[in-house]
Amino acid sequence: MSAIAALRRPGRRAGSRLRRPLRDPLRDPMPAAKPIRPGEVEETIAVASSAFTVIAVICAWMLLQLLVLGGLSAQRSQDLLYGEFRKELAAGTAPTGALDYQGKPLEPGSPVALLSIPQLDLEQVVVDGTASGDLRAGPGHLRSTPLPGQAGVSVVMGRASSYGAPFRDLDRLAPGDAITVRNAEGEVTYQVRSVRRAGDPVPTAPTGSGGLLTLVSAEGSGALSALRPGQVLYVDAVTEKALPAGPVAAAVPASERVMARDTSALPVLVLLLAGVLALVLAVSTARRRFPAPLVWVLATPLAIALAWSATDEVARLLPNLM
């Protein structure tokens, strides 16, 4: 009885300082909720509460997207890309450079190689392009370098903390570890030469049929370092027998460089946010006419979809090696 009474009187807490005297629950049943009148302190508090709730939801959703949902999406992309790449390898139409098998420039996001690092238990399909959006699907190949496995210096970038974080453990590689790359023309095994950070000497470019594969990612330091990839990290791996280099793109736009952001995501983001706004308005209008559960059942999937797309686009505005 006392527990139920305590429930019925939500205002009653031990140690709370209230202006009004404590009510007797037996004599004074719970009053109806007082509506908020404009100008009162309660209004500010209500608004603040809603605002902070929204902020908390957004923060939580962003974290969820980057750390969990992004991983799911990256895994799905990897599966699809693997299937596509297998088909291309079998048909002999896999790209050998910046051009596809028909001679047209390769679309960013197309699979170009399979990267496998047994030491880290890593098996990823490398896509073409290193913009933030491309790296959401997995490690990306810098388009102004030859493909991984080809002679020359080949650069592959990957995310370190979000969207599956394929390159989160790159700093665990030691000299001598094997990295295997499979591309359209064959399989090449590299040996890791060193892990390189700012201030370390840049290795010389290989000549003849030698190849150098540079994996680029980011790392953090200090507390919560796994969530703070701010410093760029390089891993250089060499091979003596690389495949001959194919056509290479001239120069990549600014959004595909190391730690670059892709501001071309803004227009899409604006559209999606407009969609979110429209959904909110629709929900609030519908709630007046239709029963709440129905509205929520209909609105929730839409809300989740729009929120997912919006945060996916926001991820494109973030540095590509995050």
Binding site: P10, G11, A33, K34, P35, I36, I45, A48, S49, S50, F52, T53, I55, A56, C59, M62, L63, L66, L67, G97, P105, T145, G152, V153, S162, R196, A198, D200, P201, V202, P203, T204, A205, L212, T214, V216, L224, L227, R228, P229, G230, Q231, V232, Y234, A242, A245, G246, P247, V248, A249, A250, A251, R257, V258, M259, A260, R261, P319, L321, M322
Partner: protein, 873 residues
């Protein structure tokens, strides 16, 4: 004492060894050494024969058969033969033979080469024979008619009825020469050469270099190199002597590479045999032996009557003629594959300009056979690709003719000064010989390159070309500059310039020459020339200069009536232009007088298809062909080069004087735009065509070839090799000559004085920089590389940007502090350090979201709690 003897022996051995290696440089002694490596000899030649032959009857014995009597006559001439070069010969090199005092020729043939030259009288026959003309040598090494090359059996074998055969009456003939079948052992006559009793035969067999015996009596018994329709037309010549007894011919010498059966090489001695045909001396009056010719001296063979056998070149083997021979010893240089066979150590290839190829032929043996030098190898490659290869470490140095992008820290050492020219082979009309000089200006070259001459009435149907002259010899502008040539006949070969279809610095300079000429530029923009000729509409307003000349005309002729063109529809004018991939092909085409015009109609009845092929060689006397050649190839193959217009009205030949004057106009590239920090001493020189336009003596086609190498980033051995190459090529390599290590003709020597002094000093400065291998001073702070830049391969397909820029150019260093371009340095260096790249967003966002979310959630729940407490909802 023993030690002294050992030392002496060792020294002797070294001397002998070095002599065998450098023996190519020593010339065999000439009969009479002429100046500058030539050869000459004078001989008195006599023909003893009978005139006024008549039959008389013996009055004392009327039944006896009448005898033939005649008066003795003698034709004596002092003939001098001169050859301009006969040592250190390369394959296909053309040597110039001149003579004086010979018997004037008659019945001139249009084509004096091979079999076609047989129907002349009193020519001078030039043959290449294996062996040495020295009676003291064993018989197997001496020349004899059976080691002399002729391309057909008709030049070796004669059969006549017994009364007509004149060689059996040769006064100098032995009994064996008068036999029924002479010249060959009768047992060796093969079955498919039937011998009849009623005819007298002379068969000259051919002994191949490998010892194989060819009877030479018909086409089946000739060496395989003599097969009909082989790629190589005959080089044996029956040349014409003018009325004053003088004459000249250009003889192409062939080595075992071109003619394996003859087998001449630097180890197998050969001889150029020059036989001025005087006619055979006769032992008895009457008969066909004493003939003096059916044609007047100086006349042309019109086919009305055959030449008199006794005075024709068909009897060259007959002792009277054979004993009159002049034997020019031919001494060949080391073949091009010497270094791959005998070179020490791995070859160190330098890639670049084809203009170096003749110098490389003479320089390479001086490197690879010398133990103190490295095994230098020169390979042809377009300038841009060679430069990229050198920059990425694939080659020690690049030999290019112009400055390339992204050359920070690269030094250009001048190595050779040569150039390009418009080579020509043009015959004067009426069998008057070969045209020796030609004058061309930029507008004429523009007309040739832009396919503006239709070439034939088929081409004249192309819209826009209807009013143009069909070929250049019908163009009044050309006729004004070069009077006295054929102005009646058009030809497709005379409507084009055989050019390159690949990228070359040469094309850049040629198109700059066109661009800076106001008449040529106006013509290309569409303005008609003073005689009404207009440019091909496909080329109108073309932007110049370019590095590859494009073929832009795509007009198809329809319903021409020519079966081949109708069955194989395609653009017509590009078939006439038909450019090739390198300069050597153009030189050989000019040498053989064989245009690369692909409009020959060939019908294959078995497959019932029409095929289009290359037209036939032009007949001697009707040749007209133009092509772009390098000046060194022109000197080697004896190709004449046209004089080009520099200032208005001044036509300059492509000789050393013209090149020297052009070098005086050369200036360093980038002097106006270079920043002060850049090291100017490493930059190449450039010939500004606008300056040539103001000079009366500078040759527009002058080009310098530079050895471009890195001045930092090279390993020690490579730097030493490059330094050695620069110093050797600057000293030993600039001495004119034909021996190993010397500078061939067609190159201007770079010396320490005169206009070439600046090139000499530049080469020494670059050599110092290459040997020092120091990083450039105070690099601009924005560009340390974060990843090594290079490609390791050339861009093969079209890239998303302009081709050729891709591999080495990197975007400028990033402006935003959070993003930096990887590989923003222009040259990969081992000394570069990884630049720090960091992102504040990356290091701060996620924790911010986490903490911020938690904080916001806390505040939200606290405020909600507050509201509940206050009784609100």
């Amino acid at each position: 004492m023993r030690r002294g003897a050992v030392r002496a022996l060792v020294a002797l051995g070294l001397v002998a060894g070095s002599l065998t290696f450098f023996s190519a440089g020593t010339a065999t002694p000439a009969a009479v050494a002429a100046t500058g490596g030539g050869w000459s000899q004078t001989k008195k030649l006599t023909r003893d024969y009978y005139v006024n032959s008549r039959t008389v009857e013996d009055p004392a014995d009327p039944s006896a058969p009448p005898t033939v009597v005649g008066d003795q006559a003698s034709d004596s001439r002092t003939v001098t033969v001169r050859v301009d070069k006969h040592t250190d010969l390369q394959s296909r090199e053309r040597i110039h033979v001149t003579w004086s005092g010979a018997h004037p020729s008659g019945g001139r043939a249009a084509n004096p080469f091979g079999e076609k030259g047989l129907s002349q009288e009193y020519p001078v026959l030039l043959l290449e024979c294996r062996g040495v003309d020295d009676p003291s040598l064993p018989a197997a090494r001496q020349i004899r008619p059976s080691t002399c090359w002729t391309s057909t059996a008709a030049q070796r074998t004669l059969s006549q009825s017994a009364s007509v055969a004149s060689w059996v009456h040769d006064a100098a003939a032995s009994d064996a020469d008068r036999a029924h079948v002479s010249g060959i052992d009768p047992d060796k006559v093969p079955a498919d050469c039937p011998v009849a009793d009623s005819e007298t035969y002379h068969i000259t067999p051919f002994e191949g270099a490998d010892g194989k015996f060819y009877a030479g009596c018909n086409a089946n018994n000739m060496p395989p190199q003599a097969a009909a329709g082989t790629a190589d037309p005959p080089n044996e010549t029956a040349a014409f002597t003018a009325l004053d007894g003088t004459g000249s011919a250009d003889f192409e010498v062939r080595t075992s590479t071109e003619n394996e059966a003859l087998g001449c090489s630097h180890t197998v001695a050969c001889t150029l045999v020059v036989i001025p045909i005087m006619g055979i001396s006769c032992d008895a009056p009457g008969g066909f032996c004493n003939e003096t010719g059916n044609y007047l001296p100086g006349s042309t063979n019109d086919g009305s009557v055959g030449p008199a056998e006794a005075v024709s070149p068909a009897l060259w083997w007959s002792p009277s003629n054979w004993d009159n021979r002049f034997s020019v010893p031919l001494d060949f240089a080391q073949p091009p594959n010497t270094c791959s066979l005998l070179g020490q150590g791995d070859p160190v290839p330098f890639y670049g300009s084809e203009l170096m190829s003749q110098a490389a032929l003479q320089w390479a043996p001086a490197y690879c056979l010398n133990r103190s030098r490295f095994n230098w190898q020169a390979n042809s490659m377009p300038d841009e690709a060679a430069f990229t290869l050198m920059k990425t470490g694939g080659a020690a140095a690049a030999q290019i003719s112009g400055r390339q992008d992204g050359d920070r820290g690269i030094g250009y050492a001048p190595t050779a000064v040569t150039g390009w020219g418009i080579g020509f082979v043009v015959d004067k009309p009426g069998n008057a010989g070969e045209q020796q000089s030609l004058r061309l200006n930029a507008r004429l070259i523009a007309k040739l390159l832009t396919e503006s001459y239709p070439g034939s009435p088929t081409g004249a149907k192309r819209p826009g070309l209807g009013d143009n002259p069909l070929s250049i010899n019908l163009d009044p502008e050309f006729e004004a500059l070069n009077p006295g040539l054929d102005t009646d006949h058009f030809s497709e070969a005379a409507s084009t310039l055989l050019a390159l279809n690949t990228s070359a610095q040469l094309v850049v300079q040629l198109t700059s020459y066109l661009q800076t000429d106001p008449d040529a530029r106006a013509f290309l923009n569409g303005k008609a020339d003073p005689w009404g000729m207009t440019v091909n509409p496909a080329y109108k307003k073309i932007q110049l200069p370019v590095d590859t000349w494009p073929l832009l005309d795509t007009w198809f002729p329809q319903k021409t009536g020519n079966g081949c063109l109708d069955a194989n529809p395609g653009p017509y004018l590009p078939k006439i232009a038909a450019p090739v991939s390198n300069l050597r092909l153009i030189s050989i085409a000019l040498l053989l007088g064989w245009p690369n015009v692909n409009t020959l109609c060939d019908y294959d009845p078995s497959a019932n298809i029409y095929k289009i092929g290359r037209i036939a060689q032009q007949g001697i006397g009707q040749r007209f062909m133009l092509g772009i050649v390098s000046l060194s190839d022109a000197q080697r193959y004896g190709i004449r080069v046209a004089s080009l217009q520099a200032a208005k009205g001044a036509y300059v030949a492509g000789d050393n004087a013209g090149m020297r004057s052009a070098v005086g106009l050369m200036d360093r590239v980038g002097t106006s735009r270079t920043s002060k920090r850049e090291d100017l001493s490493l930059r190449p020189y450039d010939l500004d065509q606008a300056k040539v336009r103001r000079s009366r003596t500078a040759y527009p086609g002058t080009m310098a070839v530079y050895t471009a190498a890195k001045t930092y980033g090279l390993d020690k051995t490579t730097a030493r090799h490059v330094g050695q190459f620069i110093s050797v090529s600057l000293t030993e390599g600039q001495k004119p000559g034909r021996g190993n290590g010397q500078l061939p003709a067609g190159y201007l020597p770079i010396v320490d004085s005169g206009p070439t002094k600046k090139l000499y000093d530049a080469a020494l400065a670059v050599r110092r920089a290459v040997l020092a291998q120091k990083p450039p001073a105070a690099a601009t702070p924005t560009s340390p590389s974060t990843t090594p830049t290079s490609t390791g391969g050339t861009t093969t397909g079209p890239s998303t940007a302009a081709p050729g820029n891709a591999p080495t150019s990197a975007a400028p260093p990033g402006a935003a502090p959070a993003s930096r371009q990887p590989g923003s340095g222009s040259v990969a260096t081992a000394a570069a350090k990884t630049a720090p790249v960091s992102s504040s967003l990356g290091s701060g966002l996620l924790p911010l979201l986490l903490l911020g979310g938690l904080a916001a959630g806390l505040v939200a729940s606290v405020s909600r709690l507050l509201l509940r407490v206050r009784g609100v909802r």
